[in-house]
Amino acid sequence: MPIPVNGARDGSSNKGALVRTIAEAFVAHAQLQPDALFSTFIQGSATTRITFGELFARSSAYARAYANLGVKPGDVVIIILKHSPHLFYSFLGAILAGAIPSFIPFPSPKQRADLYWDDHDRLFARIKPQALVTYSENLAAARAHIRNFGLATIVADDEILTTSGPDVLHQGKPDDVACLQHSSGTTGLKKGVMLTNRAILVHHDAYREAIGFGNEDSIASWLPLYHDMGFVACFLGSLLQGTHLVLLDPFEWVMRPRMLLDAIAQHRTTLCWLPNFAFSHLVNGVREGDRWDLSSIRAFINCSEPCKSGTFERFLNRFSASGVSPEKLQVCYAMAENVFAVTQTPLSHLAKALHTDEAQHELLSCGPPVDGVEIRVLDPTTRERLPAGRIGEICIRGPFLFNGYYRQPEKTAERLQDGWYTTGDMGLIHEDELYISGRVDDMLIVNGRNYYAHELEALLAEVDGIIPGRSVAIGVDDDFSGATAVVVLAECDDLRGARRVAAAAKSAVLERTGLALHSFVPIERGGLVKTTSGKLSRTKNKELYLLGRFKVGTKS
């Protein structure tokens, strides 16, 4: 600290600047290469090309708008937007205003607005944001549901870009909290990970070493910016590095996965981060025989979900004729609490695979730690350190670990002790590389988002026809989709009405959380297996389910 930023990409200026904050890096790129392309932003058939100079001018308009509304340095600004370049401008405008921005997912069409806002009412009561940036229809819903609605509000449309007033430019300090990354907790339990300028810049420096991220690189992504992979690896990565980001609409990409391959082929991008399910979605969601020139890609980096070698094999089989070779498929282990990357497989080497008796299935290496990061594997019960090769709970320490959860000292103390963060992930070290094998707790990772089984079960307890406290939510690997399928096993009062109960259960979970349950298995009263302490056992019931022991309406 401070770290250098690159000179201009076109070589007109090789003079890099030493920067200590996001704002300083942003200003440096806007001055050194105002005409260089920051983003090709794709929305439907429309493409917006944004240079660093334009990015700075439009973000500055937001900074003035925040200042005009009384937003002060250190205030929290919540950004809830659909896919729009205003995501960039509103976030960076808040940075220039010295405020603390945070992206939060917008309600999906399947979620119920009242339930969404009830949850956010609790979140807002805790974090006390000063301002909300959103789109007009969402603002109306927010006003209707947030109690004591005292927020300054901005509707993100192009009118805001004409905001006048004195220029606002807070360069910030290295140890200022620069932004919050909100975790995807199921209900009102989202945690705001506090990240300082120092942590973000030092992480960027370490991670660019790990992947050889240079001036000639560029990124193609469909990832939402409220997720750490889209936010840090793609958006902040491009911004701090001064490179080009091609960004697609996540919802559009889900329906038209080939868009990502079109974007790579057209813009000759070199890096692409994807969760495991996205590799499968690309294989399953394009027409047989179609080909692309993907030879520009240096690495497709699998991250945010358990990475599977079978998924890589299918991807390779489908796209080898398009220029994808095995050494281009890489793995990263990352989390918001460490800004992003903890480990990364070395690019241009084949990602290693390991079969251990303890893990029971093949594990893909996530690579060695990124520079500065230390990893310990602890016995989850005794908390004693385990030797290499043994599976235990992963704990990490390093120069860019987060500063805690915003306004949640008790949650912070649970996970962050003596500079070590307890991840909740299980895994092992083998030949200095990390392999992840599962979770300590009941967290289910579905399409890159995190859900807790006990929170889903609490929602199910409210559904008519399910006996309260008598259901379990389990995650089952789906090899075809490359994702985790969430299956609910539930004891029901009257199995004749099971079809109606199943539909009600799926709706209750979807409307509250946006998660589509894969299936609902009704079971007669007393059919689920309990532990010796009398609680329902997710593990045991999952084993029985996988053995086919739960036929609809029968006892195990």
């Binding site: 439907g44 069409p109 919802f251 559009e252 889900v254 329906m255 038209r256 996965p257 399910f277 979605h281 399953n284 969601g285 027409r287 399409n447 789906d478 989709s481 994702a483 399928a485 079809r499 199943a502 539909a503 799926k506 709706s507 979807l510 589509a516 894969h518 299936s519």
Partner: protein
């Protein structure tokens, strides 16, 4: 014509979600009635329907369909629009 459209969509749903051929799929069938029907598999269904009818459905309409009937109506409307424009 409408019945034929629905029949073809029924075949697409059964193939996408690997359902037994006799599974009743009607206009009222929703994603909650079919195991594994989420946003990703919905994209597979849309791709299959588009191939079956040799058309491209408007992106902003395909995401928020309430049931199979609305999908059939959208296909019908898109086919009609294509016929009008030629």
């Amino acid at each position: 014509m409408k019945e034929e459209t629905l029949d073809k969509i029924r075949t697409c749903v059964i193939a996408t979600f690997h359902l037994p051929p006799e599974t009743p799929i009607t206009r009222a069938t929703t994603s909650a009635d079919v195991d594994g029907w989420d946003s990703l598999s919905h994209a597979m269904l849309i791709m299959k329907v588009e191939q079956e009818f040799a058309l491209e459905l408007p992106f902003d309409r395909v995401y928020d369909l309430a049931n199979v009937g609305e999908l059939a109506d959208l296909v019908q409307a898109t086919l009609g629009a294509g016929a009008q424009s030629t």
